[in-house]
Structures are given as structure tokens and as C-alpha cells.
């Protein structure tokens, strides 16, 4: 299994983070964070609540401005891009929000159409309806097309959020806790969904999660974020069998 996933990875570096720093006032969240992600790789980021995982991936997509360090995505320095180039780059990255962040005032269909309408030039936009239906089919929620987000359950919202983030066929997908707060069965479904979509569209992913099963099944590599640095990195087996007390504590807690 491990071998099979690894064959997708080639040597190309897609995300390169060096000495990333970010503080909010006195609250130093990222101190000196380093990470390199290769094409086709799935990196899972784990760590305690409030440690800065969301801040980290928001830096990758330029929602949060780092205080220092280097952040290169597709070989472009995020901090040096102008608005237009940044927007262009963002179409190549999908971001799945922790709380789904669906547009309340729009139906599911309009939510999914939004990125398409904003991005595809009229000519190459193609059939919106077809693309929306395919995206919904991918997450198994075709029948929700005309519902409002308020009419969906938490798990359904997460899946619609995933569908919306993937609709532009991004090369990188950043998932922020895609299974948190869901029952084990739905979590498993979402895990499989992520794996399936990964295969189908050949994406590079960073997944933030506390869900050990999700981490085990998807990760080529797990990064443990702590005290503002990448405290520990390795495969699932390496981390589970690690003797470091903090890591041990974290995995034991989670496994129960």
C-alpha cells in the first residue's frame, strides 16, 4: 500500500517553506517552520489544538501574511506576487475550510458555480451544470443541488466544501480537519473520498487532522507541529513507534 502511494511522487518540489515566522501580537504561533512537499505527496500535519496548523496552511494560500521566512508554491514566492498573480495561483490550490465556509446566501449549486464563474473565461467555462453535477457526484450528494447550506448536516457541508474546493481541479489541495466533529462512519467515508479524489485528479495534498485513521490511510509523511516548528516528521509507523514522550503521549491519547 505504502509503496503504491509512493509511486505517484516524483522529485519535483511543489511547496517549499523555510524559516516561516508568524506572531499575533505577543502570541508567537510559528517560530521557524520548515517543510518541503513534493508533487503527488500527501503530508498530514498534526498537533495540538490552537498550535497554529490553520495559520500554517493559510500562509500557504496567502490568507495570512507571514512575518518572516520563505514560502514558495509552484516555485513562486507568495509574498512577492501581485494580486492578479496571486489570484491566478490560488486557482491551482484548493482550500477546504475547517468549518466548510459555504456561502449561506447561495444554494449548493451556486456555491459550486461560484469558483467556475469567477475563473473560467466564458469560452472555456464549458457546461456549468455538468461540472457542478460531476462535482456533486464525486462526493455522493447529487440530490442536494438545490438546497441551501442551512438545510445540510455538518457532514454534508464538509463534503460540499470539498466538492467546491476541487471544482477547479487544483493541483494542490489543503484540507483543514476534514473529518473533525463527524461520526466514525462518515469520517471513514470522507477518508475514502479524499483518497479516491487524490487518485482521480493526481493532487498533492496537505491534510490537517486529529484523526489517526485518516492520517494512517492518507499520509506519505506526517509532520508534527509544536512550539512553532516542525517538531517531528516521518511516516505513520515511524511516528507511532517513536520514543519521544510528547509524540507518544499524543498518539496514545488519540488511539483510545
Amino acid at each position: 500500500m505504502e509503496q503504491e502511494i509512493n509511486t505517484y511522487i516524483d522529485g519535483t518540489t511543489i511547496i517549499e517553506i523555510e524559516h516561516l515566522k508568524k506572531a499575533f501580537g505577543n502570541n508567537v504561533v510559528l517560530k521557524d517552520f520548515n517543510l518541503t512537499v513534493h508533487k503527488g505527496e500527501t503530508v498530514v500535519v498534526m498537533g495540538k489544538s490552537g498550535i497554529g496548523k490553520t495559520v500554517l496552511i493559510k500562509c500557504i494560500i496567502g490568507l495570512v501574511k507571514p512575518d518572516g521566512g520563505k514560502m514558495r508554491v509552484f516555485n513562486q514566492d507568495i509574498s512577492k506576487l501581485n494580486q492578479q498573480d496571486l489570484d491566478e495561483l490560488r486557482t491551482r490550490i484548493g482550500f477546504v475550510f475547517q468549518n466548510s465556509a459555504l456561502y449561506d446566501s447561495m444554494t449548493v449549486r451556486q456555491n459550486l458555480e461560484f469558483p467556475l464563474r469567477r475563473h473560467r473565461k466564458k469560452k472555456i467555462r464549458g457546461n456549468l451544470d455538468l461540472q457542478v453535477r460531476e462535482a456533486l457526484q464525486n462526493v455522493g450528494l447529487e440530490n442536494t443541488i438545490d438546497l441551501m447550506p442551512s438545510e445540510l448536516s455538518g457532514g454534508m457541508r464538509k463534503r460540499i466544501g470539498i466538492a467546491r474546493s476541487l471544482i477547479l481541479r487544483p493541483e494542490i489541495v489543503l484540507y483543514d480537519e476534514p473529518t473533525t466533529g463527524l461520526d466514525p462512519i462518515t469520517s471513514e467515508e470522507i477518508t475514502h473520498l479524499i483518497l479516491e479524489l487524490q487518485k482521480k485528479y493526481d493532487t498533492t495534498s496537505i491534510i490537517i487532522t486529529h484523526d489517526i485513521d485518516l492520517a494512517r490511510e492518507t499520509a506519505n509523511r506526517i509532520v508534527f507541529l509544536m512550539n512553532g516548528i516542525a517538531y517531528m516528521q516521518g511516516t505513520y509507523e515511524e511516528l507511532v513507534n517513536n520514543e519521544d514522550t510528547l509524540i507518544k503521549h499524543f498518539f496514545k491519547r488519540q488511539a483510545i
Partner: protein, 264 residues
């Protein structure tokens, strides 16, 4: 704590907040202008917002304007008749409606209804990360959400004011007709006769400023609202108070200017 001392701290806090609020508004409006004037323009979204604002306020503004026109005439009529000025009733009502009541009442109603709506909407979009989601879809929220709403209020408040003026004059006509029997043609002839462009132009111009203020305050407060539902509620609340005060201050300044220019 001494009551006196307490008052002082509350007072200085209010002053602080006031200046902070002004700075926030100025900064925000610069940003909106800077980003808003760059193409591509969001015409479709401006149109949607205009439609929303128009539909939301149509009935409320109309009803209020009608009643105010009616009441104005009913209240002033006895005094005017007593002074033998009954014939001036149409002129008096048209000038007070067009110059002051129409614009001000429309703006105050919209500050309450539209301003609070805008800031609650943007506030909740902010706290639920919908604005972030828009940004990562490569859409500039300043352009798509903020600039469009400010343009829409700036355009719609004047239109709603003209509508309110008209309905209010009809109200005033009914008010006059309760006691006297006036022909509607005669009434409206007198109304338009007594209105000069020096009445109409300044009062129409100021409504653009009213609209801009309502949109700007609503967007600023919503967009910068603190996390949590309480933050959103407070943003809506503060935005109503601020834009009402803003409207009244602008009204006063415009009246001063027109009077200095000799138009009053």
C-alpha cells in the same frame, strides 16, 4: 470608584472609540476607492445589490413617507389657516418635503434597515470564513462585496428619496383634501411652481452623500467585526447609530453650505 471618575473613564473611552472609528472609516474608504476603481467591474453584483436594497425598502419608505406627508399638512393646516395663509399649504408642504423630510427620513430608515443588514451580513460572512473562502477563490472581497454595496447604496438612496418625496406629496394632497376640496391638478401645479432648482439640487445632491455614508459605515463595521455572534450583533448596532449620526451631520453641513451660498 467615584461616580465622577467613572464618568470620566467612560467619557474618554467614548472619545477614543470615536476617533478610532473615524480613522477606521477613512482607511476603509481609501482601500475601497483604490481597489474599486480597478477593472474588471462587478456590474452584475451592483445590480443585484441595488435590486435587494430597492425591494427591501420600497414598502417601508413609501408608507412612512405617505403618513408623514399626510400628518405634516394636517398639523400645520390650522395654524396656517388662522394666519390666512391656507393657500400656501401646497407650497409649504412641497418645500419642507423635498428639502428636508424626504431625504432625511429616507436616509434614516435606510440607515436602520439597509445599514444594519449590510453589516450583519458581512459580519457573519467574516466570522464564518466565507470572506476568506471568496478570497481563495481568487475573488477580491473588497471589490465583490464591499465596493458593490457602497455603490448600490449611493445610487439607491437618491432614487428612494425621489420616490419618497413623490409619495409624501401625495400624502400631503390627501391631508389637504380632508378639510378642503382641492383638485389634484391644481395641487400639483402649485407644488411644482413653488419648487426651484435651488431647493431641488442641494437636497438631491446630499442624498448621494447619505447613501455613501450608509454603505461605507455598514461595510466597515461588518467587515471589521469581531469574532463571534456577539461581535456581529454589535457591529450591526454600532453601524446603525454611526450612520444615523453621519446622515444628520451631513444634513446640517449641507444646510449650512446652501445657506451660505444664499439659497435658503
Amino acid at each position: 470608584m467615584e461616580p465622577n471618575q467613572k464618568n470620566e473613564t467612560v467619557f474618554s473611552k467614548v472619545i477614543d472609540e470615536f476617533f478610532y472609528g473615524i480613522a477606521e472609516l477613512v482607511q476603509f474608504s481609501f482601500k475601497v476607492f483604490k481597489i474599486g476603481i480597478q477593472p474588471p467591474y462587478e456590474f452584475r453584483e451592483v445590480w443585484n445589490q441595488c435590486y435587494e436594497i430597492g425591494i427591501k425598502s420600497f414598502i417601508l419608505v413609501g408608507t412612512t413617507a405617505f403618513i408623514l406627508g399626510l400628518v405634516l399638512v394636517m398639523q400645520s393646516r390650522p395654524t396656517m389657516v388662522e394666519f390666512g395663509a391656507g393657500a400656501f399649504l401646497p407650497a409649504m408642504s412641497s418645500i419642507s418635503i423635498v428639502r428636508e423630510i424626504g431625504p432625511l427620513v429616507t436616509a434614516l430608515i435606510c440607515a436602520g434597515k439597509i445599514g444594519s443588514g449590510i453589516s450583519a451580513e458581512l459580519g457573519s460572512m467574516k466570522v464564518t470564513e466565507q470572506i476568506d473562502a471568496m478570497e481563495v477563490s481568487g475573488t477580491n472581497p473588497f471589490k465583490y462585496l464591499v465596493a458593490t454595496r457602497i455603490i448600490a447604496t449611493t445610487l439607491m438612496i437618491p432614487i428612494l428619496t425621489v420616490y419618497a418625496d413623490f409619495i409624501s406629496l401625495i400624502g400631503a394632497f390627501f391631508g389637504s383634501n380632508i378639510k378642503d376640496n382641492i383638485n389634484i391638478n391644481y395641487y400639483f401645479n402649485r407644488v411644482f411652481e413653488s419648487l426651484h432648482y435651488t431647493d431641488v439640487i442641494p437636497s438631491f445632491t446630499k442624498t448621494f452623500f447619505f447613501g455613501f455614508t450608509i454603505g461605507l459605515v455598514g461595510c466597515t463595521k461588518g467587515y471589521n467585526s469581531k469574532k463571534g455572534t456577539e461581535g456581529v450583533g454589535k457591529a450591526a448596532n454600532v453601524s446603525v447609530v454611526l450612520s444615523m449620526v453621519g446622515v444628520i451631520v451631513i444634513d446640517m453641513v449641507v444646510t449650512q453650505i446652501t445657506s451660505m451660498m444664499g439659497y435658503l
